[in-house]
């Protein structure tokens, strides 16, 4: 039997509620409804799920999806060993067995035929057929499936099928408003509110440029990076350039504008 404890979240992950999402998620979990979290990168989707797993005291299995991922990477496969073959459960199977929350991060990155394997788990059946093994796995009563996806940057080709979408309840996340975000950056890094507010201001500037040469604004995660650097003794200007501007753009005009914004904010 797999060790359930290793998947438990032991320390409370800091999460600042934006509205009533914690209560809503709890309700969804109580009904064991599959959940989809949408939103731009670095706005706190994964953190939220981690926090909820901790709050509910359930193990959490996270799978980062990618293009090369196949169905067997999720479900499991036979491995050859000295005496013949041996079945190895994939993360989704493990989660269904032990009653964990299975979190498929960036689900659209996986190929569409891969995503279909989650279908029987996400409706009333709550089963996972392991055809190769010849087993029909009944999901543990605590099992819940959560997927995340960022509708922004993927292209038209990479969208979820309607049949997949319509199996989930959904949360839409966005970057928190300035005041909240200031609190988050300050609390996460232990910097003072004033510095955090300045960083958030730069972040907001960049978010206004989305669609005008920026695919995605500066995320809360990057703001936290910048604050961490500043706390580590880097000068605010350098830290912001390094953590906020350089990663997100190669466009000279945008870089210039954001650099100017940094100078304007840190007088």
């Amino acid at each position: 039997m797999t060790d359930k404890e290793q998947y438990k979240v032991h320390k409370e992950p800091f999460y600042q509620q934006q509205s009533n999402e914690v209560a809503l998620y709890t309700a969804a979990y109580n009904a064991r409804l599959p959940v989809m979290v949408k939103g731009p990168t670095g706005c706190g989707k994964s953190r939220f799920i981690e926090h909820m797993a901790w709050k509910l005291g359930k193990p959490l299995i996270t799978v980062a999806c990618n293009e090369d991922m196949t169905a067997s990477d999720l479900v499991g496969r036979y491995l050859l060993d000295a005496n013949g073959t041996r079945w190895l459960d994939g993360p989704l199977t493990i989660a269904a067995r032990i009653g964990a929350i299975c979190y498929l991060d960036e689900i659209v990155e996986a190929r569409q035929d891969t995503t279909v394997v989650i279908h029987p788990l996400t409706d009333h059946r709550r089963t996972l057929p392991l055809d190769k093994k010849g087993e029909l796995l009944e999901a543990h009563p605590d099992f819940q499936l959560v997927i995340s996806y960022n509708p922004g940057y993927q292209n038209l080709m990479k969208d979820l099928k309607q049949s997949t979408k319509q199996r989930f309840t959904a949360f839409e996340f966005d970057y928190p408003d300035a005041k909240l975000e200031t609190g988050i950056v300050a609390k996460e890094t232990g910097t003072d509110e004033e510095l955090a507010a300045k960083l958030v201001k730069i972040g907001t500037t960049a978010r206004h440029l989305k669609g005008h040469g920026l695919d995605e604004g500066i995320s809360t995660r990057l703001l936290v990076y910048a604050a961490t650097l500043i706390k580590g003794g880097v000068s605010p200007r350098d830290a912001c350039r390094m953590a906020l501007v350089r990663p997100i753009t190669d466009d000279a005009d945008i870089r210039d504008t954001l650099d100017h914004a940094i100078d304007a904010v840190f007088a």
């Binding site: 206004h208 005009d253 304007a264």
Partner: protein, 756 residues
Amino acid sequence: MAEARTEYEHPLMKGYREQLGCGFPQVAHVFEDCMAEALSSLSKEGINAYLEYARFLCKMGRGVEPVLIFLEEWPSIATTLGESALPAFIAFISLMNKSPNNPAIAPFLQSLAATARRLHSQEQMQDYMDLALAFMTRTTGSVHGIHTTFASPGLPDFFQQSPYLLSQISIDGLKNWVEYGIRNYHDHPDRQRDYFSLQSADSRAVMQRERHGTLLVDNERKLDLYLRGLWQKDAHFVPYSMGFDELRKPVPYFDQLGIRLPDVYDDIHGITGIDRYRAVLAHIVGHKRWTTAIFADNFSPFQRMAIEFFEDSRVEALAIREYPGLRRLFLSLHPKPIEGACNPENTACLRHRLAMLSRALLDPNHGYKDTALNDFVQRFHAVMQQGESCTEEIAELALSYVAKTRRQSDQLAKTYFDDTEVDYRDDNRHMWRFHEESDDEEMFDDHRKIELEEEELKGLPPRHYPEWDYSSQTYRPDWVSVYEALHPKGKGSDIDKLLAKHGALAKRLKRMLDLLKPQDKVRVRYQEEGSELDLDVALRSLIDFKSGASPDPRINMSHKTSGRDIAVMLLLDLSESLNEKVAGSEQTILELSQEAVSLLAWAVDKLGDPLAIAGFHSNTRHDVRYLHIKGYSEKWDDEVKGRLAAVEAQYSTRMGAAMRHAAHYLENQKAEKKLMLILTDGEPADVDTKDERMLIEDARRAVTELDQKGIYTYCINLDPKADEYVSDIFGKQYTVIDNIQSLPERLPQLFIALTK
């Protein structure tokens, strides 16, 4: 009069006058004043040289003007450049005097003082004269071998414009500007004059290119991002020229049509041009955000000025609250009036007081001692402490400031202006509302203007394209105007008839097309699940497995059919020469081209590749016509066939511009491969271009540009003699079709071969 003035004369002055020995009465009028200035600024040797050369100019036989100007201007030039510069000037003037260009001497001398102020040093001045000399020799005309008969048409204008030009561009820039003018208008006196008097559009454009400083056009996107990112505003920028209005410098402003900004900013006080633009925008956005218009009717001009200063300071304070870094920027651009610099006894000092106050409101370390000023700075900050305040409230404060500090002398005509211009601020026209609308005549013009605009809107506005000038290896900016229009419609059934005529050929083509249709399979390897086992990978995996490493399970492969992803642009040369009959046939080249294009369009339509067709011809660079026949989104239907049936051939072939214009459509196609086919019957040529190579080189350049944009160009040339030039333009990407009668067959075949 002259006699009356000479009644008494200082003996010294008399001596000088004799030394000059110039009999013009006009000289006598000004001589004493000029001499007084010369004596105060020139050395003894300088005076001698001054009189000696003035004498030379007087005896030169070109009238009184040269000597008059020289007498008046030289002392000030000598102070800027040094007295030793004189012989060089005189050498230059005598050169001009010996050429047919002597009328240019007066303009040269007239502009000399201003030019000297711009150039500062003798070396630069020498450069300038060398440039003028080269200009003179190259543009002085000789007809039928008679040496230097006609004066250079552009030279006087050039001298007149040079102070202004040098204020905008460096001497090197001036060289390029002159070079361009000489090269392009060498043999066209009127155009040359237009160019060198800065009248013609390209003259200004070339100057613009050579300018120093930060140009608005180059940075519009940056500023747009600045507004959007930092201020969440979206505005249209309208540039105005700083140069042409020497007396009254225009000031930035904004209205419904957009924000007016200077076309160029130089760096000053360590602030880059782009930051100066940002300062202007930050100030203007401040107004947009926080200023509400108030009624102006009840205020005196002084009160209004004060209100404007206070309001400007208020919005800046608020902007700084938002972005503290702006303070540094504003401080470096805001003038720092010196306390006590304005004498209130004889000068109107209100501007000075307000500028000082404005500085003090911005600068916490202003260091001004004036009690009223400090008092109001405190009251201002106290008001701002409460919140954002508002225009009315700040106007109250401004009015009490005016009342408190009013002086009788504020009414004086002599106003103190030094250090009071804050050049990043707008003119505040948006701040004022008037109870009474103006009854100026302009009010009645509005209606008429609208009518005019409507008329102009018919047909698309021209697009301008540069043209490559191979002799200088530069682009001529906005040289060609391309007018795009829908081709008039004819009868679509004509094309169907043509297709029917080539029925047999069409059948053969169809067979070839079927072969071309996407059906070739492509192997997709490294699949975990697939239709076949990929032996190579499978073996590798087995070896991995046997040796104890984890095997790669992706040992299968599958197949998929590859699609065609190619967008095609067919550009037809519709110049006059297409009307010629083909040897040994009753048909004209145009008719044959029509047939060929119909077949090709039919074939491409069958293949399903996106195809656009356009024709072009030109009548000088001002009128290149680009005729739209088929767009990418249009089907091969009667509409399109009708347009193709109606094509007519006229005018000339300016290929480069048409290619560039066609490319901007093709560029926007989302296809892996982009192909531009150009069907032409001769070399690029136009009536306004004498140099045959010019348009050939331009077309070649266009091919390179297109190549950089990922567009493959291919030329189908119907001129049997094309080999001489076509490879120059298209490299190896061309076919010459000698037997034009075979064109309908060859064109689709060529296309198929190209895209197989």
